[in-house]
């Protein structure tokens, strides 16, 4: 292309600064590297993580990542889809309840802030109870609990379907209630449980043997939580994702045990267990890869005690992913 016809049709008021041949060679080498780094990430997205592209992208990640080039540019592609909203119910220590939906056009202003929150909730849409969902949902719940000082958080992912044109032509509104569908499998019911009184001595990193933990203790008040300064041990209930089979449960590196004979009925009813009657201890690997493995110790015929070492002052989210009515949940809590 003739540069005179392009952006270089410039004012030659004074002599331009030119580059030496050596400098041009160096810059050209950088240009080749840079242009490859620009094209590889979207090509990787488009090609569905194909082998050679993936390898090349990985090989250039030392350049792609720091330069902020790791983008797919799939704007509204491949298809514009439904929206995902996060509906949360917060229960404050005084019993009051707050209901909030994210994003909220009235609260999140200017529009850019609204889109930031919209992106946060959109991250939850990827698959049923996927790792990404688990990755984000837990910190979202933690943030909301901290922000509002709530003691209990319930998160519901709501799918807002797009209205078909013929229905809109017939009078349907885009926010018609029939277009909103709660997603029960992604429902998160979280309680912030106070760390119990300090365990004697410093807690070792990782798990402690079940016999060290002693019997379960009563939950303290939230006021006692703030003053905790040394490592504490809390009880934990966790319901593993029933949609997964045993082999699919992510296991943290270094895991030494696993649940054998994990069955389709394997979701853990809170602190109750009706299978594996001949076993005393179990190690559970949570769907959340961030969560350490959990030792379960049988304390009764149909009861398991789960313990997890916690850092001082850390709050713990109790999650469940089953479809039991929420109202029954406290009754199952010991």
């Amino acid at each position: 292309m003739d540069p005179r016809n392009d952006n270089s049709s410039s004012v030659r008021s004074i002599s331009p600064v030119t580059m030496s041949r050596r400098a041009k060679l160096l810059v050209s080498a950088w240009l080749v590297l840079h242009l490859a780094a620009v094209a590889l990430p979207p090509l990787w997205v488009l090609s569905g993580d194909s082998g050679p592209v993936s390898a090349a992208k990985r090989g250039l990640s030392w350049y792609i990542d720091p330069m902020f080039l790791n983008h797919g540019y799939g704007f509204f592609g491949p298809d514009p889809g439904p929206s995902f909203l996060l509906r949360c119910e917060l229960e404050l220590p005084d019993g009051r309840k707050i209901e909030q939906t994210y994003p909220d056009l009235k609260e999140h202003r200017p529009r850019l802030l609204y889109h930031r929150h919209f992106m946060l909730t959109s991250r939850l849409q990827f698959g049923r109870a996927s790792d990404v969902t688990t990755l984000y949902a837990r910190p979202y719940a933690r943030h909301l609990a901290e922000r509002y000082g709530a003691r209990h958080v319930r998160l519901f992912l709501v799918r807002h379907e797009l209205a078909r044109p013929w229905k809109v032509a017939a009078g349907m509104k885009l926010d018609d209630p029939s277009l909103y569908a709660p997603m029960p499998n992604l429902m998160i019911d979280g309680t912030w449980t106070a760390p119990l009184e300090a365990a004697p001595g410093p807690a070792p990193p990782g798990l402690r043997a079940p016999e060290e933990l002693g019997p379960p203790r009563a939950a303290p008040s939230s006021a006692g939580r703030a003053g905790t300064t040394s490592p504490a041990v809390v009880t934990l209930e966790i319901v593993l994702d029933r949609s997964r089979q045993a082999g699919e449960i992510p296991r943290p590196p270094g895991g030494t045990a696993s649940l054998s004979n994990w069955t389709g009925r394997g979701e853990l009813v809170p602190l109750r267990w009706e299978e594996h009657e001949n076993e005393e201890d179990f190690v559970f690997y949570a769907a959340d890869p961030e969560l350490p493995a959990i030792v379960a110790h049988r304390i009764g015929m149909n009861e398991l005690l789960l313990r997890l070492p916690m850092e001082a002052g850390e709050r713990l989210l109790i999650m469940r992913r089953d479809e039991l009515p929420i109202a029954e949940y406290p009754e199952n809590t010991p």
């Binding site: 540069p3 331009p16 030119t18 910190p139």
Partner: protein
Amino acid sequence: MIRRYVRDLAASVAAGWDRFFFTPADPATYSLIRILAGAMLLYTHAVWTLRFDDFFGASPWLPVNVVQQSPELGPYAWSHFYWIETPWLLWTIHFAALAVMAMFTLGLFSRTTSILTFLFTVSYANRVAPALFGLDHINGLLALYLTLGPSGACYSLDRRIARRRLGKELPPVQPNPVQPSVGANLGIRLIQLHMCVVYLFAGLGKLKGDSWWDGTAMWLSVASYEYQSLDMTWLATWPLLTAVMTHVTVWWEASYCVLVWPRLTRPIVLLLAIPLHLGIALFLGMITFGLVMLIGNLAFVSPALVRAVVEWPLRRGKTAPDRPGASRSASRREAARSH
């Protein structure tokens, strides 16, 4: 014969490469992009101030360790937020970042502030990667390429300061001239190429979806209640119109990287960008995204045309500030020649 062909081909490619990337260019367009992109970067980061604690505070939506596991980030992503947690220090850095971006927009110490602006942009983006969208990606590329050349050569405080300093040495009737710059050309060329990559993959990505083939995608876009900022449901009764809009959009995006280069098709391609991105801005509520895409498209506008438009108000009373003896008619002639 084959050897000669290969030799000619290599020489031709080398000459074309040299001309394309290393021809010094008037930095007018580059400087205008600095103002607009700088303002967008400043606004984007200023908005974080409203919910700074929610996103960067002690108990944020996304803790650092979670963000670092997010699929959006690679292993070499970095952010100053990964190492600093002290609230007062984070706030101090935040206001420093805003000050840097304001200086960059105004063109004050622009070579230094351009680099700092890019570093801040990447640092913020990597801290809140899951909350990003297209705006941030284009912000990042503009900030990156504005570090390559003298983005403060025109329309800047740097320029004004230099003029004042030179004015004492030069005769009063001779304003200091603008120096064509390889860096400005390089920055513009890379914005152009990057925009081509963006549109190409945006178009190809759409071609993997059924709705962009059957013509319903445009309806699905405007039917999103969460995106909608203006009621476009009247399109429900105009399926043919939505189908045409769908096909034009995907065709335009996929062919942008080819048709934006020839002199004859470039104006058409750029003119089509205006309704497309203004439509996204006005109807889908993404004003910032629509505008930043238009700023990126500005890289294809010639410096002469930029001068003709930007300096028109300035020329009404006096000679153009950056162009010695440039008359309005001469500027127009040059703009016409460029296009």
